[in-house]
């Protein structure tokens, strides 16, 4: 099930911030983290992210449900790296047959996994607390994104949940025609491709019809647009972005002071 709806309590202080401000804060915060390979800076970042979560009105349980594919991936990466790392330097913790878990292995693996989580979480928080319409409005009004792109993407986005329904329908229609794959993996792959093709043809047709309907209502006709829903970028929004930058800098400084900092370049 593709879940596109925001899940936050609408009144939460940071959830109400301008969508562009939230997006900018998330980007500033994560770009700094990409600069280092050590596990300390991302660990601090994750702690900060989890600490501000209530301010966004997102409950931890809801976040866990949204982020579970990410957590599963993180677990997978951790296991793979521990088993197959090339660099086996440092103190040896566990030795079981061919598997040698050393300090170097653990630091590299943890660094990578924590970095992935620290970079992904802000994105999840932003989209969990932002209505897609508000995001498109703010992108146009505050970030000067072209309406053609922002509204177009928004309209296309609205059709996404239909695709899942469509996929089920096409699969059943194939079965009614006497087409199924049974246990044969090659037949399964071919059936998958043929359903995907039908889905694509339908999606293109639907997209074309939608584009014509938007055209008929004067979309992108060259007339300067007005806005029905005003999005404001206030001082509080600027403060959010600045705070995010400061917190990221603090995480990096801590890592440098502790001597764990390992720059990505050099």
């Amino acid at each position: 099930m593709i879940d596109l709806e925001p899940v936050a309590t609408p009144g939460a202080p940071l959830a109400r911030r301008n969508p562009v401000a939230k997006l900018a804060a998330a980007m500033v915060f994560t770009i700094v983290l990409v600069a280092t390979l050590d596990p300390v800076a991302p660990a601090i970042a994750i702690a900060v992210e989890l600490a501000v979560l209530p301010l966004f009105g997102v409950r931890y349980r809801v976040l866990a449900r949204r982020a579970w594919p990410l957590l599963a991936a993180a677990g997978g990466i951790l296991v793979t790296l521990v088993l197959f790392a090339a660099d086996r330097s440092g103190r040896v913790f566990v030795e079981a047959g061919p598997v040698v878990v050393t300090e170097g292995v653990l630091v590299t693996a943890l660094g990578l996994v924590l970095r992935m989580l620290a970079v992904a979480l802000p994105g999840i928080i932003v989209f969990a607390t932002t209505d897609p319409t508000d995001l498109a409005d703010a992108l146009i009004q505050n970030a000067k994104a072209p309406a053609r792109f922002a509204i177009g993407a928004l309209a296309a986005f609205r059709l996404v949940p239909l695709l899942e329904q469509e996929w089920r329908m096409i699969s059943m229609a194939r079965r009614a025609r006497g087409v199924d794959a049974g246990r044969n993996p090659i037949a399964k792959l071919r059936l998958f491709a043929s359903i995907a093709f039908t889905l694509l043809v339908g999606a293109i047709r639907r997209g074309t019809r939608l584009a014509v309907a938007m055209d008929a209502r004067g979309f992108d006709a060259g007339t300067p647009r007005t806005v029905a829903r005003r999005q404001r970028f206030t001082r509080a929004d600027a403060l959010l972005v600045v705070t995010a930058a400061l917190l990221a800098a603090a995480a990096l400084t801590t890592s440098i002071l502790l001597g764990t900092f390992r720059p990505l370049i050099g």
């Binding site: 209505d131 079965r175 009614a176 006497g178 639907r206 939608l210 829903r229």
Partner: protein, 479 residues
């Protein structure tokens, strides 16, 4: 408010040999209400697209002229509003009010005027909810009324309606027509394309009939046009009032039970339902939108697993699979026993030509090549598809696609045929062919189940009806 003048107008889409519409001379005065008729392929939709300014100059070839208030329609877009057939692809925004505001924003209407105009438009079409209502939560008829509000909010001088009720159930269609009647200003010009003439007549004062080869065949007040051309129009596929179709009910009582549904349901879409499907009987499943009619069709067709209860096939129908329910049969075995025709024909197309499409079923069920060819040739002729044997199924017209989807289900000669809304949006000619075809199948001892909103179709074909209720209500019971 706006007048239309066409002089020798014609349009040929880029890359096509045939003119979609040609030689049209027509003058529509400001405030007139016109019903545009013609057989499938007479170019009604192309003409509307031209009037809406939706045919870019580089997308085809034009003959003659078309003018709205003396302007090229591409430059008079602000004067024209259009409502299309499919509600789902006309709504742009997630919230109802935002969707009406969308057009106003595009036209650069000052922000402080937008919301009063949105509320006024919603009130005029009788939109029953607050403007925050998610568009995804609306029924088809409500979505179409919302799309109408979005068009009317722009205050068009000319309103074009391209079969706006073809995809709706009767209740939704009535509400949309009433909204059009109530919401139009007296001086708004209206041009309407609609197959179902009787329902559209109260909205119009003039009928224009396009000739498929080109030109205007008839033009005038409805009574005069139908008195002079009614017979010919009916034969060409137009639903002319007063030209009813003789019913075709079973001459003999129903035969053996093919399929038994016992407390069959799929929460939350279908409440537990009891049902027996018999040979030599046409059963119609009725009920409002949301009652689970399509779900019942899928369950009876062995296409999805029941949530509650069971479907049992008779030993005669089940053959070697007598001990398993239909939803666990392998697909080729299923296709040879129970045929399903989906509401959207394109969902079922698998191959690249009409001929291959018909041959697929027989081949999958293990017929010889000679048998397959014989079956395919017979069906091509029977359903007037022989000239299209090499065409791609996706390029067919609505009526052709429907005939092909029924033909593919018949190609494997199933004992039971299940159709979901087979007559949706069909012209009178295809409609009659469907009635005749299903009646013949029934008379030859097959079982026929149709899920439908079409009261005329039920009156013409059904031997028995089952009415479903929304799952909150008590479940449907088979008498």
């Amino acid at each position: 408010m706006s007048g239309v003048v066409l002089r020798g107008f014609g349009w040929r889409h880029g890359g096509r040999r045939r003119w979609a519409v040609r030689g049209v001379d027509l003058r529509v005065e400001s405030g007139e209400r016109v019903l545009l008729l013609g057989a499938s392929g007479a170019g009604k939709s192309t003409l509307l697209a031209a009037l809406a300014g939706l045919l870019p100059e580089d997308s085809g070839e034009q003959e003659g002229t078309v003018e709205i208030d003396g302007l090229d329609p591409r430059k008079a877009r602000e004067r024209v509003g259009v409502l299309f057939q499919d509600p789902e692809t006309q709504l742009v925004m997630a919230r109802s009010g935002d969707d009406v505001a969308f057009g106003l924003e595009n036209r650069g209407v000052p922000a402080e005027e937008i919301w009063p105009r949105v509320d006024e438009a919603l009130r005029r079409v009788g939109f029953p909810y607050h403007r925050d209502r998610p568009t995804a939560a609306l029924s088809g008829g409500e979505q179409q009324r919302l799309a109408l509000a979005g068009t009317l909010a722009l205050r068009p001088g000319l309103l074009l309606l391209d079969e706006p009720t073809a995809n709706l159930d009767p209740t939704g269609a009535t509400l949309v027509r009433r909204a059009v009647a109530d919401a139009l200003d007296a001086d708004t010009t209206l041009i309407l394309v609609e197959h179902r003439v009787a329902e559209a007549l109260p909205l119009v004062d003039r009928v224009v009939v396009l000739e498929p080869g080109g030109g205007v065949r008839a033009d005038g007040p409805p009574e005069a046009v139908f008195a002079a051309h009614g017979e010919a129009l009916a034969a060409a596929g137009v639903w002319v009032p007063g030209h009813t179709v003789p019913p075709r009910h079973a001459g003999t009582p129903a035969g053996d039970v093919l399929l038994t549904a016992d407390r069959l349901g799929l929460p939350p879409r279908l409440a537990p339902t009891d049902l027996r499907v018999r040979t030599g009987e046409a059963l119609a499943v009725l009920g409002p939108n949301g009652a689970g009619k399509s779900t019942l069709a899928l369950l009876l067709g062995g296409l999805t697993r029941p949530g509650t209860g069971t479907v049992t096939a008779s030993a005669d129908l089940a053959g070697r699979d007598a001990r398993t329910p239909p939803h666990r049969w392998r697909a080729p075995a299923l296709a040879g026993r129970i045929g399903s025709v989906f509401q959207d024909p394109e969902h079922q197309f698998v191959t690249a030509t009409v001929r291959d499409e018909l041959a697929l079923g027989p081949r999958r069920t293990g017929r010889s090549e000679a048998e397959t060819t014989a079956t395919v040739d017979a069906l091509l002729e029977r359903l007037r598809l022989d000239r299209l044997a090499g065409a791609n199924p996706y390029t067919l017209s609505g009526g052709e696609a429907r005939r092909l989807s029924v033909a593919t289900a018949l190609a494997t000669a199933p004992r039971l045929l299940i159709c979901d809304e087979p007559t949706f949006g069909q012209d009178r000619r295809t409609w009659r062919e469907l009635v005749d075809l299903l009646a013949e199948l029934r008379d030859a001892g097959h079982g026929v189940v149709t899920v439908t909103h079409d009261a005329d179709f039920v009156a013409a074909l059904a031997d028995r009806t089952l009415t479903l209720h929304r799952p909150a209500d008590p479940g449907g019971v088979d008498p």
